[in-house]
């Protein structure tokens, strides 16, 4: 039904954010997923988070792989740039885009098949390299597009729709991301928007690899008794370690927290993560503790949700590679490349233009040391 356009009628006086956008401005095309699909709830959560954070839609790049999950970027942020890559290759394409243009907010959307099977290598290296991105895994434990085969995140002992039991061990993407060096690791449930929206906000404002493993039941192929990814099962076994309140740097914390009931984590941009404790005295900044906790609860059949780990002092790939940050610096270097590209070695040698262009480029660079043009000829410095 993709040919159906969304109705243009707007509810009178829809709330607007600081940029003057309504929530509708952050929506996309009409979803073609099954009615009740958890993925649509995640799309709605992304819309809500982007609206609340006053994100300019054209400053967002949303990239995905293949699968039901990877279709969803079409259903939110319609005014953003998108790239539906090949199966499991989203992290690589996103890494390249992020290296070329650091001014955008990178949203990686993937599924359990796309990230835990086909693209597990890509997933692993994006995490360990520290690509600055918010990585959303819409995890339903089955291959929905191909009619419900087990995926790599299906729990051992979980049954498919026909009653067949899965014998393979599951991959826990949150645990794997922790091990690989992700600096913001969360798990949530598509049926719990109150938990999911602040987690997405925190991930969007985090510097470095932020991953949210969102359990998102497949209503058609994995929502039956015996499945460990059904709405009922996840609700019954949800072990939330905390509740996150996300506060922008410009906003005041209005909620009052009783002493000892919340933990305050300030991210690099000044945004505050207020983590309300739920029962256990869980420390989300203790990486080893988080890994142990995940394993313990997993052995008990529980699904740990909430902000599992955050490193507020994290860096990213740009920090590691010491890339140029300011646009004018980038443009300055591009200008030099423009001139050097215009210097065709053979023609330039004949005209003696090699030196001329090379000198101009060296002059532009403000570099009085001798440089070399593409033909390998030494360029004499130009007096300033």
């Amino acid at each position: 039904m993709t040919y159906l356009a969304k109705p243009k009628l707007l509810r009178y006086e829809q709330p607007k954010n600081a940029l003057g956008y309504t929530r509708r401005d952050y929506e996309g095309a009409i979803s073609t997923l099954c009615a009740g699909c958890g993925h649509d709830s995640i799309s709605a959560a992304v819309v809500q988070a982007a609206f609340d954070l006053d994100i300019e839609p054209h400053k967002v790049a949303k990239l995905s792989g293949i699968g039901c999950s990877s279709k969803t970027p079409d259903y939110f942020l319609g005014a953003s740039h998108g790239f539906n890559t090949t199966h499991g290759r989203m992290p690589s394409v996103l890494t390249g885009a992020a290296m070329a243009n650091r001014d955008l907010l990178y949203l990686g959307v993937s599924g359990d098949g796309d990230s835990a099977s086909i693209g597990i290598g890509q997933f692993a290296h994006a995490m360990r390299r520290g690509v600055n991105m918010a990585y959303l895994v819409e995890n339903n434990g089955v291959y929905g597009l191909t009619k419900g085969q087990f995926s790599a995140t299906t729990d051992k002992g979980s049954k498919n729709k026909r009653g067949v039991v899965n014998n393979d061990s599951p991959i826990d993407l949150a645990a794997l991301a922790l091990q690989l060096g992700a600096t913001y690791v969360a798990r949530s449930f598509s049926g719990d928007k109150e938990q999911l929206v602040p987690l997405i906000k925190g991930a969007m404002r985090h510097r470095g690899p932020a991953i949210i493993d969102v359990i998102s039941p497949c209503v058609t192929f994995n929502n039956h008794p015996g499945s460990t990814k059904s709405y009922d099962y996840v609700r019954e076994h949800n072990d939330a370690v905390n509740r996150l309140d996300f506060v922008l740097p410009r906003d005041k914390i209005t909620t009052s927290y009783a002493p000892g009931t919340a933990r305050r984590v300030v991210q690099h941009d000044g945004s505050v993560l207020m983590l309300r404790k739920l029962g256990t005295d869980y420390d989300p900044t203790d990486r080893v503790g988080a890994m142990n906790y995940l394993q313990e609860r997993s052995a008990m059949g529980e699904i740990v949700t909430g902000l599992i780990y955050v490193n507020p002092e994290s860096g990213d790939l740009h920090t590691a590679l010491n890339t140029v940050e300011k646009r004018d610096q980038v443009e300055h270097h591009l200008r030099i490349l423009d001139r050097l590209a215009a210097c065709r070695p053979s023609a330039a040698r004949r005209r003696g233009g090699c030196r001329r262009i090379g000198r101009a480029a060296a002059h532009d660079a403000g570099d009085q040391r001798a440089a070399r043009c593409p033909a390998g000829r030494r360029i004499r410095p130009v007096p300033a």
């Binding site: 740039h81 998108g82 955008l104």
Partner: protein, 215 residues
């Protein structure tokens, strides 16, 4: 062609173009070269954003399963390849000292051995025109070269004759015309090997006059 403004001012140009109402479609062939224009992400707040995806979309990068859109995409890609032929490095032609009906096509690391082999063959009185291909898709000169010769030796260093297969599919030429000269024993190809193979093939191509026996 999807010509872009100089890098430093590209973003400014784009924004001005989009504001002036110029039509933008991520897969729209504006000037007939098959290469659509692009925008730099983050340039304009309301125009110029696009969603790259596979073939199930129209010229404006919107999801579409319409047959006409698919045909448009495929035909644009064909035009794009035609444009690419003119942009990639052109083949290098070296004519033999004398007009000849023999030609040789080769590429890459075969080049030096081929030059030496041509000299050895010349000493034996076998003249061969040479064409070194440097890029794919093949420029029209490659097909023209094959058409102009009766026999073309395709010299390459693999067992299956990969360049020859590309020439057959792309050039739509007679397979009998393209003679394989393949070297694949793990060592670099030599001038002796090439000249030997070509010389023996030329000998086979020679037509012996039919003797008339007087009765």
């Amino acid at each position: 062609m999807g010509r872009l403004a100089p890098l430093r001012s590209r973003q400014g140009h784009e924004r001005a173009d989009l504001d002036s109402g110029k039509t933008f479609g991520r897969y729209l062939d504006v000037d007939g070269d098959g290469i659509p224009w692009r925008t730099i992400p983050g340039t304009h707040p309301t125009k110029g954003a696009f969603f790259s995806r596979g073939t199930t979309r129209n010229a404006y990068a919107k999801y579409s399963e319409a047959g006409t859109d698919y045909v448009y995409n495929m035909e644009r890609l064909r035009r794009k390849f035609e444009t690419a032929k003119k942009l990639v490095p052109a083949p290098v032609l070296r004519k033999a000292a004398q007009p000849t009906r023999f030609g040789a096509i080769y590429y890459g690391s075969t080049s030096h051995a081929m030059s030496e082999a041509a000299a050895l063959l010349k000493d034996k009185g076998v003249h061969v025109d040479l064409l070194r291909v440097r890029a794919f898709p093949f420029a029209d000169e490659v097909t023209q070269f094959i058409d102009e010769h009766d026999v073309v030796f395709v010299v390459e260093q693999n067992e299956s004759g990969q360049l020859r297969m590309l020439l057959l599919t792309e050039g739509d030429c007679d397979p009998k015309k393209l003679v394989k000269v393949l070297h694949y024993d793990g060592t670099p190809i030599t001038a002796g090997f090439i000249s030997g193979r070509i010389a023996s093939a030329v000998d086979e191509n020679k037509v012996s006059p039919i003797r008339k026996v007087a009765s």
